[in-house]
Every structure is written in C-alpha cells, then in structure tokens.
C-alpha cells in the first residue's frame, strides 16, 4: 500500500509552516483533553481498585462504579476540552501527536499491568 502523501505537499508545495500545518485551537484543546482523560482513566481505575470506599462511593452515585467512572472520564475530556478552547494552545502539534500515542500506551499498559499484579 502506498503511503505517498497526496495534496499540496505531493504537488511540490514548499514545506512552509502553513503547508506543514498546525492544529487549530479546537483540535489542540480536545487533543490535550484526550491525553489528560486517558491518563485520568488509568489513575482512577488504580485508585478505586485499591481503595474500596471510593469504589463504593462511585457505585452509590450512579448505581454502578463503572458508570460513574465512564461519566467522570467524559466530564474530564469535555470539561477540559471546552476550557482549553478559549485559551491559546502552548503545545506544538507534533508533540501533541506523540503525547496521545504515549498516553494510549502508558494508559493501556498501566491498566493491564495493574490487573496482572493485583
């Protein structure tokens, strides 16, 4: 499968900052929010699994700890995303791409490791 990049770059456009592109405020804000929400998800899973009163409290809030957990993740994602939208992004777009990848690997690996060990 060809991975050739088509479009302006393939047409020989100069590799200027505009051609390379950056993430606009909305994409950058929700990208940062996704990084935080993914890490938050793993940390919350660790803490509630290690500390029963939190698990019980979360179950009490919605009827099941897992429902509360999911809603908390989405609240972090949307809350932080909308908050960051109104602020200029301090992240370089490419760093944010790397941060998403690292968060997915660390978050997923952290969950698997936790449930192997405990």
């Amino acid at each position: 499968m060809s991975t050739t990049v088509h479009g302006d770059l393939a047409a020989g456009a100069p590799r200027t900052a505009k051609a390379e592109g950056t993430l606009d405020n909305v994409a950058a804000a929700f990208g940062q929010a996704a990084v935080v929400a993914i890490i938050f998800n793993t940390l919350l899973a660790w803490v509630k699994d290690a500390y029963d009163p939190l698990n019980t409290f979360m179950a009490h809030l919605t009827g099941h700890h897992w429902i509360t957990h999911g809603l908390a993740d989405l609240a972090v994602f949307f809350g932080l995303g909308f908050y960051l939208m109104s602020r200029p992004s301090t992240w370089n777009g490419k760093n944010l791409v790397v941060a998403i990848a690292v968060a997915c690997i660390a978050g997923g690996g952290g969950l698997a490791l936790w449930f192997v060990v405990t």
Partner: protein, 157 residues
C-alpha cells in the same frame, strides 16, 4: 433481550474498528477528493464505538454479575480478574479517541501534515484497542463456557 444486547455490543465494536481502519487508509491518501469520505468514516467510528459502549455498559451493569460468579468458580477465574477488569477500563480509551477523531478528521488533512498524523495515530489506536478488547471478550466468554464444562452440567460439553 439479554442475548441481543450481548451480541450487538461486539458487533458495533467491530463496525467501529472497521470504520477506524477506513479512516486510517483514507488519511494515508488524503486529498481534497476524499475529505468527505474521511469525515463520514470518522463520524461512523464515533457512532459505532459509542453504541458499543452504551450496549456493553447496559449488559455489563445489568446481566454480568451471575456470569462473573460462574467464571470465578470455574478453572479460568483470571478471565474475569484480568481480562474483564482490564477490558472494562481499557474501553474508555478508544471511546475518548473515537469521540475526538471527528474533531481532528474534519480539518483540511490534505494540506495539514500535523492533523493528518494526529488522525493516523488516533484511528490506529482505536483499531489496536478494539482488537485487544474483542480478544478479551472472547476469553471472558470462554471463561463462562469452560466453567460450565468443568462443573459437569449435562449438555455443556
């Protein structure tokens, strides 16, 4: 009703994964011509993964408890202790990514290398997570089955 919900959950998970593969492949060849298809596939990914979450969540919180007890009494208790515990929390990662995907996929990908890289990473991790979760679901299902076989319930073998 329980079985319909149970089978609809991985079905939408697989459809979401296929839609994410579609986004990935289209983005490798991003141009003005396929921008609309990328956008449509990104929305399809979101819709399918959100439906998989809602259906799986409803089944998990309503019907799973008796199956958990069966698994824990069987020879594969780790089908719950490791696979279900990891799966139920891991699921939130592709959920967040699937919701984020159309936000970045609706940018002008043909002329924006950073947005293109972001879409490739996000859709790629949706696929990898979905594969892991589908595999974990199969192990959990087999954990119940093997517990019945082990218990000697007539006809289970």
């Amino acid at each position: 009703m329980s079985d319909i919900v149970l089978f609809a959950h991985p079905t939408f998970g697989v459809l979401g994964m296929v839609a994410a593969v579609w986004v990935f492949v289209e983005t490798l060849n991003a141009s003005e011509a396929n921008q609309a298809r990328i956008r449509m596939a990104a929305y399809a990914t979101t819709a399918c993964i959100v439906l998989a979450w809602l259906l799986g969540g409803y089944w998990y919180t309503t019907f799973y408890a008796p199956e958990k007890a069966i698994i824990l009494k069987g020879p594969w208790p780790w089908a719950h202790d490791f696979f279900m515990e990891t799966k139920e929390h891991l699921f939130f990662i592709p959920l967040i990514l699937a919701i984020y995907l159309p936000i970045v996929a609706t940018r002008k990908l043909a002329s924006n290398a950073t947005a293109r890289a972001m879409v490739l990473v996000v859709s790629g991790f949706v696929v990898l997570n979905a594969l892991a979760i589908e595999g974990a679901g199969a192990v959990i299902n087999h954990g119940v089955k093997i517990a019945f076989v082990h218990s000697g319930v007539k006809g289970s073998e």
